[in-house]
Symmetry: C2
Subunit: 287 residues, 2 copies
Amino acid sequence: MKNQLILDGKKVANHIKELLSSRINKLGEKGITPCLATILVGDDPASETYVRMKGNACKKLGLESLKVHLPSNITTEDLIALIHKLNRDEKVHGILLQHPVPSHIDERLAFDAIALEKDVDGVTTNGFGQTAFQLGTFPSCTPAAILEMIDYYNLNLEGKNTVVVGRSPILGKPVAMMLLNRNATVTICHSKTKQLEDIVSKADIVVAAVGKPHFIKGDWIKEGAVIIDAGYNKGNVGDVDFIQCKVRASAITPVPAGVGPVTIAMLLKHTVIAAETQTRNLIGITI
Amino acid sequence: MKNQLILDGKKVANHIKELLSSRINKLGEKGITPCLATILVGDDPASETYVRMKGNACKKLGLESLKVHLPSNITTEDLIALIHKLNRDEKVHGILLQHPVPSHIDERLAFDAIALEKDVDGVTTNGFGQTAFQLGTFPSCTPAAILEMIDYYNLNLEGKNTVVVGRSPILGKPVAMMLLNRNATVTICHSKTKQLEDIVSKADIVVAAVGKPHFIKGDWIKEGAVIIDAGYNKGNVGDVDFIQCKVRASAITPVPAGVGPVTIAMLLKHTVIAAETQTRNLIGITI
């Protein structure tokens, strides 16, 4: 049996949080508590759970969490007015609009109403552009988590054939750009891709971001490939058939306890950075 | 001998310009002449030539061209102040900052100072994000030209294995996003890519955006592939070894008279659209 590396999301998340603690303390000494505002529209139970988890993660680390719960019939205009208010609120350092919002709302317009410096969830169009051009604001949290895991485990990206399955604005597209910026050769596949199996079978690194349970099969995987499962589907099931894929992979993320916990840790990290940046004149920290 | 299609950039450019004529006339009836401001910093002879060509193309089609020539020792601050002035100038509908600017200038900051609605050359970070997310502003002109040529000749993109060689902010990255949005499977290669030849040899469509003369060789090309050469190197030489590649390709763009003339036509088209959009209250055109 060869040595298989299970990429442990909880371990990586704890590492990130440990490093944040002293930064949060430093801010605390100046009377500043990093604050994440979460906006939940409507009563989708899954969304409620996600928002609660994020709020709890904030509290546990000593961040403030401002929960805004809006009725499902709110208009795009009113939602945006609220976001603008949070943009102006000096006590709020990060803003997260829980996705998905009810279909009558223009989600893109609402996302793009978030001020770039408070876009800690990395959902704005301009933020995506900045990520793609390496201009240093907050990438989307899941792509950021993927890169963080890769770095934690010292996995090499340079020149690697990397296949991203999925092309969403907050996952497939930004992670493709981030991998590209780290000198991977990146192929982006999606529902219209032909011979997906064949393309995946040539990948040194596979990033699954499809949103279909157990979509990536074990016999698609090249011996020794690295598998990152960014999917989360009903019942806490990933996009990757973990049991099958594990046999061939040199390293693989499980679901749960893979990319998920790191994603939340990155949200916290971005919120702390946002607080440091927005209060830098007060606290004299050099960013 | 099989039938080979030489993708004729002059023909496509003329087609675009013909369609623009009536729109320019309509604007003219309301006293509006679309105006492109071109900013040239310093005395690089190649840049001077490009700016002159673009100015001439404007005039020939009945667009106004406002040429701003700045000394090479201008500061980033002063350049940006000038861009802001042009942003406010209602007579200017599009702004083009000729690339490259002298190295002491923060080119990215200068590009991003251009107002999104006047960014007809498609160089802003936010504009790139909008292109990637299909939000309908102006993509960079060369990627736009590539898609225009593909559409003119009715070449099918859906599910095609498309290899983009190059990852620059105004060429490789945006054309990759545009091809992806048109349902191509997109691989982005670059200087750190391993086995480039092997990857290119599997492509149905190759977009060369490297900036190295005759970099793509004939024996890399799959029989029947479509080759788009977006390179322009000294001596009017493309990135593709045209003579060699033509033998295997089903369709290929030459250099010169390939992507180049269409790029300029797209700049004109974007300027006309910008003029229509910015004056829509005056002219009552529905965009």
